[in-house]
Homo-oligomer: 428 residues x 2
């Protein structure tokens, strides 16, 4: 449908931080906003690893996009998947329709990249969506179940070995959370295995973990991980992943569970925009965040490649939010006949949590670690969680988790048999 | 593995109310307990409809069985599916192993029965597991999404028509909850449809709903449902269900969503016990709850057919709990060389909730309806919820739901496309 007339139609693809903040920034603008997402919910990505590790429920960190925008009269939400953008005809192609636009904001984000080894995806799932998180949760919990029934010691050890590939914040947080599950939360649950005997490896190709952080902080994080029993392997590029383990050069780690937190690749939608992409599939945008030659098309968030002061703007939530607001501001200026402004990224700092009362944080020159960093992490994440209801529920569940080491979302749902690869020869 | 010697091994199949209460009742008994379930969690079935209608999270009403039994030193839990019982050899056959027993308690419950119309299952899912509840939640929420994008008025009306088949407590509760979602919770979320215009039908073949209840109470429940906008059709046996709707004799109701709350059939495991089964596939047990001719095999809960005082013991949670405790008591007596006692069912009353501040309840001669019945429902369900943590979370979410009409678990997860059956001809 063509807009009936009057207000220009702004179409936003993607309901992540970038798309959502753009939509909200347009709430009083004389435009009609259509937000398209293939999921009905916005996900608070920074806490997704807590769903994957059974600490929180999906709905604690995910809110229906319609609900967030329910009182924004100029906005509508379409559940649908954009397959391409026709920039010449100014319309978005969905699997089941077309949506014309006057302004377009592309904010479809990134997926995993296995650096050319797409066959690893089957053995080493990554963490981007609620479905990914539930799949990882199922795999972690099933590994302990399988170990409990396994009699052969080598096979049992392989079920109790967890390898996390990638030493960025997600990898560090996953490794810490998996170690805490094994050492504390499941402590009393089994009769034939000691969950605390599980091995957790964090494998990073670069010389150190948390490369975006100050080096001394990164070392403190690695120390805290070792304190939780995580083996941190740096300068260790993975050369093979299959159903039975991980190879790092000559070294072989037999493991039934491998998680991927190493690489991201921009959403394939970028290819249809008709502009050159960088190696990770991202769109090199102009300083005003638009597509070169198409001032009506904005690209923001993880999908946008932009250098500023000689450094790339990082693919983090605060950058996506700032870009979303900036794209909205520029559209508003265009509607009023004013020229676009250039985007300036303000570094909001970096945070990574390792476990109960342990984290590292960097806000400009202020560096925190241990309990103070963890408290900063706690306050910031609760503050930014969308919805007061979610905040209360998350606080309550964290209280249980951190005070009593009880996590509540330890459910194995969905398909079990295909993961267990059942072999009856050495079963209890 | 054979028991190492000494204590007799009690194997319990199924971690529902019957199996779990049996295991707990054996906590101080000189036996070794092995509980086998194909899921890692116990489900608080009476609130499952609230997960299906997005009011609660799966983990609010489901707790890992291991966690419940973690401090019971004489109990172990096996994640596995029993495919048969070899009563002669006294062992349970799993998909991936065998478990020998000295005493067996079969408590595998019931699944849906489509009364010979198994082809209806595809179009009218039932509600027994967490996975069922998540599937129904996805279908309900997707129906509104599809209606929002549909331009053709007839097709849109079909997306906004919900038929619940079966007027027992589950059907009544589902119909009330679906009506509340449409009328209240989604009220502001859409731009092209009015969710309040949705049609909800409750279809029952018998002359009235809630047949286990007093007739006057059942009429009050039907009235309360009509007050929520539910069309209650009684004396209306369904003759056909397909992808486009439901037929009741000559009447056709075009509907894209049909839910099944009509019939249950005992778990197929019963067939391997080598005894005659009743029409619903249940095992006619002796008054001491054992298999005729096999005093070491108990059958309890929904799987057991037992008449008492001329009436069948109903397939409800309190009956399963009482049977579980009784089977445990009889095993303890046998270990001590004492004879078995007969089981006596104590009717704990009946409850069904219709929506906010509306329910019907029957405790012997005490009959309640409206707000008092609803408060009784609230207190009883919170009291019986396993785990203090869950109780707190449920109370908090109910406060939001009933005070602010905001439900938090409105996430569409998993496969979307196969449900939408996408037809692009009349899409917005």
């Amino acid at each position: 449908m063509r807009p009936a007339g009057g207000a220009p139609r702004v179409v936003i693809l993607g309901g992540g931080f970038g798309g959502l903040y753009a939509a909200r920034a347009l709430r009083r603008a004389p435009v009609r906003v259509t937000l398209v997402d293939r999921r009905n919910h916005h996900v608070f990505q920074p806490l997704l690893y807590q769903v994957a590790t059974a600490a929180l429920n999906p709905s604690d960190i995910a809110v229906p996009i319609r609900h967030i925008l329910r009182r924004q009269a100029n906005a509508e939400v379409i559940l649908g998947e954009a397959s391409a953008v026709d920039v010449g005809a100014r319309k978005v192609i969905l699997a089941d329709g077309e949506v014309p636009y006057d302004y377009l904001i592309v904010a479809t984000g990134a997926a995993h990249s296995y650096f050319g080894h797409d066959d690893w995806a089957r053995f080493a799932p990554g963490l981007k969506t609620i479905e990914d998180a539930l799949d990882i949760r199922r795999r972690i919990l099933l590994a302990f179940e399988a170990a409990e029934r396994e009699i052969d010691p080598d096979r049992r050890a392989a079920w109790l070995t967890f390898v996390i590939v990638g030493g960025g914040p997600t990898g560090v947080e996953l490794a810490g959370a998996v170690a805490e599950i094994a050492r504390r939360i499941l402590r009393e649950d089994f009769r034939h295995i000691d969950p605390g005997s599980a091995s957790v490896f964090l494998v990073e190709a670069a010389p150190r973990v948390l490369q975006a952080f100050d080096e001394a902080l990164a070392q403190r994080a690695a120390q805290a991980l070792r304190g939780l029993g995580v083996e941190v392997l740096t300068g260790a590029p993975v050369s093979a992943i299959d159903a039975t383990g991980v190879s790092i050069g000559d070294r072989r780690i037999p493991a039934r569970l491998v998680l991927w937190a190493a690489g991201v690749a921009a959403s394939p939608l970028a290819r249809s925009l008709g502009v050159p992409l960088d190696r990770a599939g991202r769109v090199a945008v102009t300083p005003d965040l638009t597509l070169p030659g198409h001032p009506e098309v904005f690209v923001i968030g993880d999908l946008a490649a932009l250098r500023q002061d000689g450094r790339p703007v990082p693919g983090v939530a605060p950058a996506a939010k700032q870009m979303g607001r900036h794209a909205a501001r520029n559209i508003l200026r265009a509607v009023r006949g004013l020229p676009y402004l250039s985007f300036h990224y303000r570094d909001a700092g970096s945070l990574a949590t390792i476990g109960r009362a342990a984290a590292v944080a960097e806000f400009g020159r202020v560096k925190l670690w241990g309990l103070p960093a963890w408290l900063a992490w706690l306050v910031i994440h609760i503050y930014f969680l969308i919805g007061f209801r979610n905040r209360m529920l998350v606080i309550l569940q964290w209280a249980w988790l951190y005070l009593r080491y009880e996590s509540g979302a330890r459910l194995i749902t969905g398909d079990i048999d295909s993961l267990l690869n059942r072999d009856t020869s050495s079963r209890r």
